[in-house]
Amino acid sequence: MAYNCVVLVKQVPDTKRITGQAMNDDGTVNRSALPAIFNPEDLNALELALAIKDKFGGYVTVITMGLPVASSVLREAFFRGADQTILITDRRCAASDTLATSYILSCAVKKLDYDIVLCGRQAIDGDTAQVGPQLAEKLGMPQITYVEELVGLEDKTITARRNIGNGWQLVRAKLPVLLTVTGDANEPRVAAAKKIMKYKNARTPIEIEQEIRSQKAENSEAEIKKLVEKKCSELDEKSLLIKQWDLDFLGADLRWCGRSGSPTKVHRIQSVILTAKESKNVEPSDAAISDMVHELIEDKTIA
């Protein structure tokens, strides 16, 4: 039996390598100003979907909600084996918290056929681990979080091993389910050379338009529009068109999107500056170290 998997992925700033400030005045993140990567645990989620496809057959759709530049993670998904990719992009998605994001993603997933929905456990910018469970609730399906291993898949039944802290739990559920996948679950495959050759030319309609405008700046609006449509068709025929959906296409209720759909708001942001109140330098000599030990014993820090 083949399975249709839908994987939600996110392009994130590389928070392990922050340089300089990247905040807007209102406390939200200025994403376009930072080097961006494929959220690490989403790669694990994609790997699990591809492993299911390898073993059982089926279709893997990868979706991301983001700025137009997020299309690069979708190409990365193609390089690894995704069959279809979709970019949800719309200015009105900006400032969405996890509730609004999960609502928008649920509108997109509902347009597809799916047996299994997969997400990374959490993103390295928000670190909330909330979108997965909230999306599962909106899709009305059971969730299996902290998945470390897919143990079995038979007909409409899935068996998975979850991490529960210092231990594991083996659970079974009926499809459809949503899985959140941890970094320990697998070793994501690298981009395949042949797929890179094919899919490096995959584009979203926005990217096509940008390219045509820069090449044919002197053409009229009508001509540009025709050229864009033609190019989109060409790519679509070769399965190289990254789908691009906005909130109108999703039929999303705007009250539940963006800032107005986000119950949590930023009151303020502070940089992390931790300084000890009193500090002293201690020479690495026997005498100085011994003095320090005596001090710590005297003030009862050491028993």
Binding site: N166, S279, S285, I289, V293
Partner: protein, 344 residues
């Protein structure tokens, strides 16, 4: 969501497994007590399970004015859908203004499911909770909101999050950041037994097997911790950390880098993705002090840092800074400690 209810109670989800309360809901009781007192409302705990009535009495000792106790055979073992349904119903019946959960695997599995169903706001992994006022973008004043304070962006910033209209205000809170309260056996409170409407359909998962092993070390309970970082160099050299820890009666710990390099088991990891600790003394050996590590130990009362890199960020928060080779300094420390022990 529920209507904003300024008389609403402060709730703590009292997570329990196999009839034992987790530590983090108890830690939350002290902060919850402070929030409830600031707001002038009652503090309540919500306990779900089967045969767990004695836990309700303990929660009162830890500061709860009320305990909502929901017992049902189908609640014996935690599952997302059944627990989410029961708590969702309780929220809609009693309109608390704040609901707090431990940011445990269970809490992070459960709270977002409830938040989504209730269309309420939820902030994850808070390291502090305060009450404060907020002025909205439209100029409107919102008083006495829950300030949900948490690190973000990989720990590089601290964000204060608020939710002024999609109540209850909900937050998951990191384990080990709030102090454990002392129980007061004389405290009185009310236990409200609630019935749950549950059937087998509410259990979406079948739990086939479970295996929990005891933690190799109790870092949270340790008064003194000796932590090694990547600078220690090898698993063999980590012996220095064990030796120093042993002569101090301290718990050995490590940074994520040292754990990833295989120097010591993950149970010993301190930091944003490990355990948060607040010992009297934290000795950081060969630890650079990355933000993610500081997040797990900056609450230590005294910090001694040993590193041969004078620029290491750990020195920004250390009380005693030893710039030197740990392979020289640690043996000297051990010698000094053993000398003092002999003298006394």
């Amino acid at each position: 969501m529920i209507d904003v209810n300024k008389e609403g109670e402060v709730w703590v989800f009292a997570e329990q497994h196999n009839g034992r309360l987790e530590e983090v809901p108890i830690e939350l009781m002290s902060r919850g007590r402070h929030l409830a007192d600031t707001l002038g409302v009652k503090l309540a705990a919500a306990v779900l399970g089967n045969g767990v009535r004695e836990l309700a009495a303990r929660l009162i000792q830890y500061g709860a004015d009320k305990v909502y106790l929901v017992e049902h055979p189908l609640l014996r073992t935690y599952q997302t859908n059944s627990y989410a349904k029961v708590i969702f119903d309780l929220i809609h019946k009693y309109h608390p203004q704040i609901v707090l959960y431990g940011a445990t695997i269970t809490g992070r599995d459960l709270a977002p499911r409830i938040a989504s169903a209730a269309k309420a706001g939820l902030t994850a992994d808070c390291t502090d909770l305060q009450i404060g006022d907020h002025k909205g973008q439209d100029g409107q004043e919102h008083k006495n909101l829950l300030f949900q304070i948490r690190p973000a962006f990989g720990g590089n910033i601290i964000a204060t999050i608020i939710n002024y209209d999609r109540w209850p205000q909900m937050a998951t809170v990191r384990e080990g950041v709030m102090p454990m309260p002392a129980p007061n056996v004389a405290r009185k409170g009310e236990i409200i037994a609630e019935k749950a409407q549950l059937s087998q359909e509410d259990l979406a998962l079948e739990i086939l097997d479970e295996h929990k092993r005891p933690k190799k070390v109790d870092l949270k309970a340790a008064r003194v911790i000796v932590a090694g970082g990547a600078g220690v160099g090898s698993k063999e050299n980590f012996r220095l950390i064990w030796d120093l820890a042993n002569c101090l009666g301290a718990a050995p710990a490590a940074t994520r880098a040292a754990v990833d390099l295989g120097f010591i088991d993950k149970d010993h990891q301190v930091g944003q993705t490990g355990t948060t600790v607040r010992p009297s003394l934290y000795i950081a050996v060969g630890v650079s002090g990355a933000i993610q590590h500081q997040a797990g130990m900056s609450g230590s009362q005294k910090i001694v840092a040993i590193n041969n890199d004078s620029e290491a960020p750990i020195f920004q928060i250390a009380h005693y800074k030893i710039i030197g080779d740990l392979n020289v300094v640690v043996p000297r420390m051990i010698k000094a400690i053993k000398t003092v022990s002999r003298e006394s």
